[in-house]
Every structure is written in C-alpha cells, then in structure tokens.
C-alpha cells in the first residue's frame, strides 16, 4: 500500500513536471455580418472571431448558404489568430443567408456552428459552384489525393483488430506456458 502511494506520488510529480498548456474549445465571440443582422448589401467577406486562436490547418470550412440553397462563400480561407474569414461573392436574392463553419479549435477538436443574417435588398450576384470555401491548403485537393492512395477506414480498423488478436495469442500462449511449466 505504501509502495503504491509512493508510485502515485511519483506519478503526481511527473504530472506537475510535464504539464503543458492545454487549450479549450473555441467559442464564437462575434462575426461580420453579425448573427441575426439585416444588411442592405453583401460584405466582401465573412469573418468569424473566436475567443482563442483557430489552428490554420487545411480542414477549416466556412459555407454561406443562400435562400435558394446556393453557396456564396468562395476562395481561400484565411486565419489570423482568433479570426477566420472567407471571401464572399456578390450576393444575389434577398432573404436569409446561413453561415456554417467547422474550424479546428485550439484544442484540436473540430468546432461547428451556424449563424444567420438577412439580406434586405437583392443583389446581382450568382451562387458559386463549389460547396464551401476551402483553406489555403485546399481540403478538396487533399481529399482527392488521399482517396486515390488511401484505403477505407474499416480496413484500418480491421487491421488494428487483427494485430490485437495476434498480439493476444502470442503474449498469452508464450507467457502462459512458462507459468504452467514452472508450477
């Protein structure tokens, strides 16, 4: 028991010695256009401000969905500290637009959410053909690359399980025998 407590104490010391800054889930603080705002003309870009920095990985997404389901955000996403922004095409029909986002939070978890704004006067723009704005690294490119060389997820998992089965068999066979021999 005392030895166990010593082990516990050593581990606690190890924790204190190795504790590194940990990060939390990002929380959306503000946006431009603001959530629920009514605007007469579309801005050049949408930007979302979080309480902590956004990781500039190539998996960040911002999508602006118009009244008819068209996509209006287009082009590379830029990340500057806490602010992530995507260029916006000239907006078209008046109505409700939804900004959807999925960003890589400071703690490495993906954070998703949506907010809306209303366009009061119709513009002349047309929706984009791409689904969503992409990061500089272009997620679409990366995805197509990986799908050409990758294998389905279940194969990876099945591989891990097979390795587990082999490991279990080897470890318990070889170890179990020697104990039986000794006793």
């Amino acid at each position: 028991m005392r030895k166990a407590l010593v082990a516990l104490a050593l581990t606690v010391v190890a924790v204190l010695g190795t504790a590194t800054p940990a990060l939390a889930h990002n929380v959306l603080i503000s946006s431009d256009p603001a959530n629920g705002a009514s605007i007469a003309a579309g801005p050049q870009k949408v930007s979302l401000t979080f309480d902590q920095y956004v990781q500039g990985a190539d998996v960040n997404q911002i999508a602006v969905t118009g009244p008819g389901g068209g996509q209006w955000a287009e082009g590379p996403i830029s990340v500057v500290n806490n602010v992530i922004s995507a260029p916006l095409r000239p907006l078209g029909p008046a109505g409700k637009y939804t900004i959807g986002y999925r960003v890589l939070s400071a703690d490495g978890h993906p954070v998703t959410g949506e907010l809306t704004f209303t366009l009061t006067a119709a513009g002349t723009g047309t929706p984009a053909t791409v689904d969503a704005a992409k990061s500089p690294g272009s997620a679409s490119q990366a995805t197509s690359q990986s799908s050409s060389t990758g294998v389905p997820i279940w194969v990876w998992i099945a591989g891990a399980v097979v390795l587990l089965a082999i490991g279990l068999t080897v470890a318990l066979r070889s170890g179990g025998k020697s104990v039986e021999e000794k006793n």
């Binding site: 028991m1 030895k3 166990a4 082990a7 516990l8 050593l10 581990t11 606690v12 190890a14 924790v15 190795t18 504790a19 590194t20 800054p21 940990a22 990060l23 939390a24 889930h25 929380v27 309480d51 997404q61 999508a63 602006v64 969905t65 996509q71 939804t98 959807g100 986002y101 999925r102 890589l104 400071a106 703690d107 490495g108 978890h109 993906p110 954070v111 998703t112 959410g113 949506e114 689904d131 969503a132 997620a139 990986s146 799908s147 060389t149 990758g150 294998v151 389905p152 997820i153 998992i157 891990a160 399980v161 390795l163 587990l164 490991g167 470890a171 170890g175 020697s178 104990v179 006793n183």
Partner: protein, 342 residues
C-alpha cells in the same frame, strides 16, 4: 468462523455490466450532444462521430482494467503466495490482454479521429494519419498512449513468466503514467487557468481509474475468496476514500471552470441548457450514488468482510461498478462537448 472459501471462480458478469454501462453512458452522451447538420459544411459520418466515444470508452475501461489488475497484486500482498498465486495466475494474463486492448483502442481512436479531422472522405492514407499526428496534440497523445500501453503489456508478459519478481508497483506506476497524455490534449482546461485545471484533471482521471480499477479487480477476481478479501478490502477502502474525495473535488472544479469561462453564456443557463452542463449534472448524480454505495460497502459490508463472513459484496460492488461505468461513458462525451446550446 466458517471455513474460508478459496475458490478462484471469477465473476465475469460484473465486467459485462461495467462495459455495458460504459457504452450506454457514451450513447446517452452522444444523443445529448447530437447537433443538426450545418448547411454547406462537410461533416463526418454518423459512424465516425458515434464511433469515437464508443471506442474511447472501451479505451478508458481497458485502462481501468489494466491498472486495477496491477493494483490487485499490491492489495492482496506478496507474503502469502499459496493463497494469492491462484488469483494472480488469472489476473496476470488478463492484465496483459487489457493492456493490449488499451493499445489497440488508442490506435483505433487515432484512426477515427483522423477520419473526423478530414471529413468527406471514406478512405484514409498513412499520410492522413501522419498529418493528424503532426498537426493535432490528441494525435501525438494517442501514439504515446499506445506505446506506453504496449510497454505495459510487455512488462505484464514478463510478469507472466517471472511472477511477482516483476514488482506490481512498476505496472501500477506505468499504467497511471499512461493515463496522463490524453487529458493534456483534451479541452479539459481553459486558457486562463490551464495550470490548475490541467493538474486537477490529471488527478481526476488517475483517482477515478485507480478507484474503479481496484474495486473492479476485487469484485471480479476476489469476491469468492473471503480470506484474501478480508485482507485486501480494508487496504482498498483507504485508497477508495482518498480517490472519492479527489475525483469529486477535481471533477467539480474542472466542470465549473469550463462552464464559467465561456464568455457567451450565463452560468446557470450553461448548466441546465447545454449538453455539457447536463452531462456534468449526470456525472455529479453518478458520483453521489457511488458515494452512497461506497459508504454502504465501507460501513455495512466491510465489518462483516473483515470477520470473514459471507456478504452480498458481489451484488453491491457490481451495482457500484455499473454506476462507475456509466460515469465513464458520460465522461468521454463530456471531454469533447462544447459549452454551447445544441
């Protein structure tokens, strides 16, 4: 005094109850945190987003089993090998198996989290996984956990061969150490207070795992052996009291900090309307029930156990462990749930 039973028949039903409760807890958490799809944004498939907490709770329970079985050696002591060896001959291979499952679930979690990181693709390449490890702390942590768990399995295999010449304290220490990397990379703590919340979260995880693991190992392997139980239970009880106090205090501290530091939502609204707050309440309720069951075990059953009398320990311990499993299930969802209304 009645003749002491020395049968070594393990109660696998207890293990089944804990795993089922853990999976149930994770699924309740998934249901609570389910969000409607965001228009225009590519999101991971349901299999991936439900698979992560399910595999993660299996990882946690494998860790609990590994550490609990290592603790069992310490709890029963080394001075009566004739009594303890039959139990240990079951516990050691089970410990190796649990450590291997621990390592494998870490790898599977890594695969699933990579798939979540890059949604919209049904295939993964080695470079995707490498990229996730390079970019995201959780990837590195999972690799470290897998390596440490494999090392634990290696030491466990040595213990299979050489018995208690391999000190069980090494396995307990390494097991607890392998718990550390994952909380460091979770959103366990907030920016402003990260030093304190981090340490508090690590203590929370270690005490919860040592507590559940110790009780679990005794309930499965020791429950029919009244002689050893009379020896081990009072020793475990001290550890359990310490763990209860630590895990309740640190859990409350971390949960409340995480909620109160969200700048966009009020404290009470966050507790009652967000999935994070609801999961926190559920875990608090679990802790209350576990404390009551623990008190029952400590003050009603233990005096009988010490006198080598037959007790209903198996059922009470199974009930307590089931609630603990439920709490682990809630925990895996809680560590990834944002403090926002769904």
């Amino acid at each position: 005094m009645t003749q002491a039973e020395t049968t070594t028949k393990p109660r696998y039903a207890t293990l089944l109850c804990v795993v089922t409760a853990g999976l149930l807890g994770a699924l309740i958490g998934v249901a609570l945190t389910a969000t409607t799809p965001v228009p225009g944004v590519v999101q991971p498939g349901a299999v991936v987003s439900a698979g992560i907490p399910i595999v993660r709770v299996l990882l946690d329970l494998a860790a609990v089993t590994t550490i609990g079985l290592a603790l069992l050696s310490v709890l029963v002591g080394y001075d009566r090998p004739k009594l303890t060896e039959p139990i240990m001959r079951l516990a050691r291979p089970a410990g190796v198996a649990a450590a291997l499952i621990w390592a494998t679930t870490a790898v599977v979690t890594l695969i699933l989290q990579t798939a979540e990181y890059k949604p919209g693709s049904s295939t993964l390449s080695a470079s995707d996984i490498g990229g996730y490890i390079a970019n995201v702390g959780a990837g590195k942590a999972l690799v470290i956990v897998a390596v440490l768990a494999l090392a634990h399995a290696g030491i466990g295999a040595l213990a299979l061969r050489y018995g208690e010449k391999i000190p069980a304290e090494v396995r307990v220490g390494l097991g607890l150490f392998a718990l550390l990397p994952l909380p460091v990379t979770g959103h366990a703590s907030n920016w402003n207070y990260h030093d304190y919340t981090m340490i508090s979260m690590e203590l929370h995880v270690m005490s919860a795992v040592a507590w559940t693991g110790g009780l679990g190992a005794m309930a499965v392997l020791l429950v029919s052996n009244r002689t050893l139980l009379a020896h081990a239970m009072p020793r475990f009880s001290k550890l359990a009291t310490l763990c209860l106090i630590i895990s309740a205090a640190t859990g409350l501290f971390n949960g409340l900090i995480e909620i109160s530091l969200n700048p966009t939502i009020g404290f009470w609204a966050a507790i009652f309307t967000t999935p994070y707050g609801q999961l926190l309440i559920l875990k608090l309720a679990c802790t209350g029930v576990i404390a009551l069951l623990g008190a029952n075990l400590r003050w009603r059953l233990m005096p009988q156990i010490v006198r080598h009398n037959r007790t209903a320990l198996a059922s009470w311990a199974t009930l307590e462990l089931t609630v603990m499993g439920l709490a682990f299930g809630f925990a895996v969802v809680l560590t990834r749930a944002p403090v926002v209304a769904s």
